[in-house]
Amino acid sequence: MTRNLLKHDSVSDFLEILATFGELHGPVLTEDGVTAFRPLGPGIDLFLTYDRTLIPPKKYLLPPRDTVLTFAPDEDYRLPVAAVSETILVGLHPCDLQGIAYLDKVFMGDRIDPLYHARRTALTLIGLSCEPDENCFCGDLSAAETHGCDLFMRQLPDGFSLRDNTPKGTAILNRLTPILAEGEPPEAASRTCAMAAAIQQASARGETYGESALWDEFAGRCLSCGACSLCCPTCYCFDVREYGALDGETTMRLREWDNCLFKDHGEVAGGFNFRKSRQERFQYRYRHKYLGFGPTRGIVSCVGCGRCRVVCPVGIDLLELFKEHDDEKRP
């Protein structure tokens, strides 16, 4: 028996203690009925039985618009003096944690992005176990559910069992001891998902299903609205734009979320486009999600959160590709 059980009636004390470590954010149900990661505070209830948020937690690390450089004639280009405050993000599902672990690989791998790094080090992640719904396909994530989070909360009938994974997590757990009860040592439940396994296998084979008739079907319906990539926890591609101030001298360079489903993504000077057709753009996104690019080559970046299936206004579901393939193999 260890002192790691957070009973349901201690959750508000828990949040109070967490808030002493930094600005507290978590999933809430907004007035518009959308689940979103928001700042928590008096009168804003943490919503721990949520399925998925609309916008993934990547917004904390890669804001939709971010100043990357400032320019003034006497200073030249400079990195912005980022005012990054300690943030505690509570209630992250394993898929979202894995999404952050993927972004960490990209932005803090060989080449460390200073802005991402500053935000990431100021971010404390508190994971939460979840129950999959019909749109999830995260597969064996549960086995590695902690995915680098600082503290993990496993849902139990009478509350949550807590497990610390990092020194940050241990520091928090130590402060929580007074409000915790004796509980069983948490056991990581394992969950398998046929779809996730099929994707992993296809990726290992470098399979792109180039011949599938589904591409035409998808591309025929797709609106190029970009929602599927906007809401994807691992889509991170960005555009860079420079905005001059009215004084005509100082400028700010911003990076903004971009979208490979937009037509101008593959364009070069003179108007030539390497991905002119919607189908090409569609397949391009597929390749990236499931086969990886650049330094993340071979790593499946789809974490199975199901957001893209939920948000697509015309019901496009890339998993049909894998299903189709599976069906062919069945007698």
Partner: protein
């Protein structure tokens, strides 16, 4: 330490110290970095910089001059849009920002002892000029060196005086062609009319043990790759420099992905054998 002074992240201040108009829309800029490291700006031909024009933005531009020039380097830029327009309005003494050099460049080290064929279409001459000078600087290391350069029309031929000088050299071959021959003759240079593939077909030069480096618009690649292979140059000895609209230059923004490669960090120079199976690469 990655910080303000890291040229992969924050552009280093540079000054325009030379400016030469090459055609109606293209000019050669000579730049020098203002920091102390600027007295040596080393790069491999085929590498590029991310060039910042304050208030305009940043664009990838090939290093066009010979490498290891003391204290300065050259870029050849065509005015095609927002940023390059602003650049063309600047004068010597004006300041820019420079990140880089980025990318791999041409693998000169692997080419020792081989014949080298350079094929430039239009602005593709920019990186190949750098490559040519690098080859000529170590002339004894290579076999025959041939430059084939095609431009839209005589007035679009860049570096005319230099080409005239090069055409007099005995240690290399130079062939020029223009798509359309209009009224103007290219200042006394011997010049063919027709597209580069036609030129290639009509010329005799050693193709065994030959490495080809190609740079130009996508249309050029589409029509010249077959020709080169028919001449007996294998796909792994054909090198292409690809263009993409680059945003970060360092493998982060995904704008330049070519298959599962990044043009900015795995390229921009790829062998044709690397690109063959990738849809949308060329």
């Amino acid at each position: 330490m990655r910080n303000d002074r890291d040229p992969t992240i924050a552009p280093l201040p540079a000054t325009i110290i030379g400016l030469k108009t090459l055609s109606a829309d293209t000019a050669l800029f000579r730049l020098t970095l203002e920091n102390s490291e600027g007295d040596r700006f080393d790069f491999n031909p085929g590498q590029f910089i991310q060039l910042s024009v304050p208030s305009g933005g940043e664009v990838p531009i090939s290093l066009a001059g010979p490498p290891r020039l003391h204290n300065s380097f050259e870029v050849c830029v065509r005015r095609v849009g927002h940023v390059t327009d602003m650049l063309h309005r600047l004068l010597p003494g004006d300041r820019l920002g420079v990140r880089g050099p980025f990318g791999n460049g041409f693998p000169l080290g692997e080419w020792t002892g081989r014949n080298i064929l350079l094929i430039a279409g239009g602005l593709g001459i920019a990186p190949l000029r750098s490559l040519l000078y690098a080859l000529l600087m170590q002339r004894e290391g290579f076999g025959e060196i041939t430059l084939m350069y095609g431009a839209r029309e005589p007035s679009a031929i860049l570096f005319k005086e230099e080409l005239a000088e090069l055409s007099g050299r005995r240690d290399m071959h130079l062939f020029l062609t223009v798509d359309f021959a209009q009224e103007e003759s290219p200042s006394g240079l011997a010049c063919n009319t027709g597209l580069l593939p036609t030129l290639l077909r009509g010329v005799n030069f050693g193709t065994t043990n030959t490495v080809a480096a190609v740079c130009g618009p996508p249309a050029l690649y589409r029509c010249i790759l077959e020709e080169l292979q028919e001449l007996g140059i294998p796909a792994e000895h054909i090198y292409l420099s690809l263009e993409r609209r680059m945003k970060c230059g360092v493998g982060l923004c995904c704008h330049c992905a070519v298959g599962d490669l990044f043009c900015c960090s795995d390229g921009p120079v790829f062998s044709y054998s690397q690109l063959k199976g990738i849809s949308g690469a060329i």
